[in-house]
Structure formats: C-alpha cells, structure tokens
Symmetry: C2
Subunit: 69 residues, 2 copies
C-alpha cells in the first residue's frame, strides 16, 4: 500500500466528499479514502499495482473536479 | 399556483442544486423548482393548498441548508 495525497479544486460540500469518496472507492486496490474539504485534499491509501495514481486522479476528474497536483 | 422565492444559505455546488431540486419536487403540488447558486435562491411554483411555503422550507432545511428568508 502507498499513501497518495492529491490536491483537488472545486470540492465544496459534503455531496462532493461523497461523490469523490465513492468514485475512488470503486477502484480496485483502494484501502482508504479521506477527503479534507478545507484543505482541498484527497488522501488515498492504495495498491499502485492495481490502481496507480494517474487512474485515481482521472476518476476524480471524471466527477467534475480539477486536479491541482 | 403561486411563486415563492426562498433565500437559502449553504448551497455550493451542482450536487446541492440536485439535492434541493429533488427534495422539493417530491412534494405534492409543485410545478417548478429553480435553484440559482450565485444568488442563493430557490424559486418554486407551487399550489399552496397542497404544499405551503413552510413545508417547502422545512424540506430544504432537511437537506442540510439554512433558510435565510
């Protein structure tokens, strides 16, 4: 497992938290997803062999948010 | 039908628009619901005999938002 901290733009409410959390959780090899609305971050513990960082970031973008880093 | 303009606090994104629109639309006697995120308003055309203003406001509060007026 690796820990990935993604800076995300546009998450503004608890609905956004749910949308991002559910989308990332649906990927394989995800151990945990934590969204910090104030910090604008998504912290993911993942198996990079199953779900690499790029795939996770793509999934978040698919929900309508912008990846800052 | 009567037109009701409710000022609502806390609606921040398209998920909020959906949550409020769906909740109000589920009430009886609702002809239309329009959410203006920038203005923070919900405009409802309703039959007050079926769904009075108080009931509509209560439903919006139930979704986690504050009624300003």
């Amino acid at each position: 497992m690796e820990k990935l901290i993604i800076k995300v733009d546009g998450m503004s409410c608890e609905h956004c938290v749910k949308a991002v959390t559910n989308a990332v959780n649906a990927l394989p090899g995800i151990e945990s997803v934590e969204v910090d609305l104030k910090a604008g971050t998504v912290t993911v513990e993942h198996d990079p062999a199953q779900s690499p960082a790029d795939k996770i970031k793509f999934e978040i973008e698919e929900q309508g948010y912008d990846i800052v880093s």
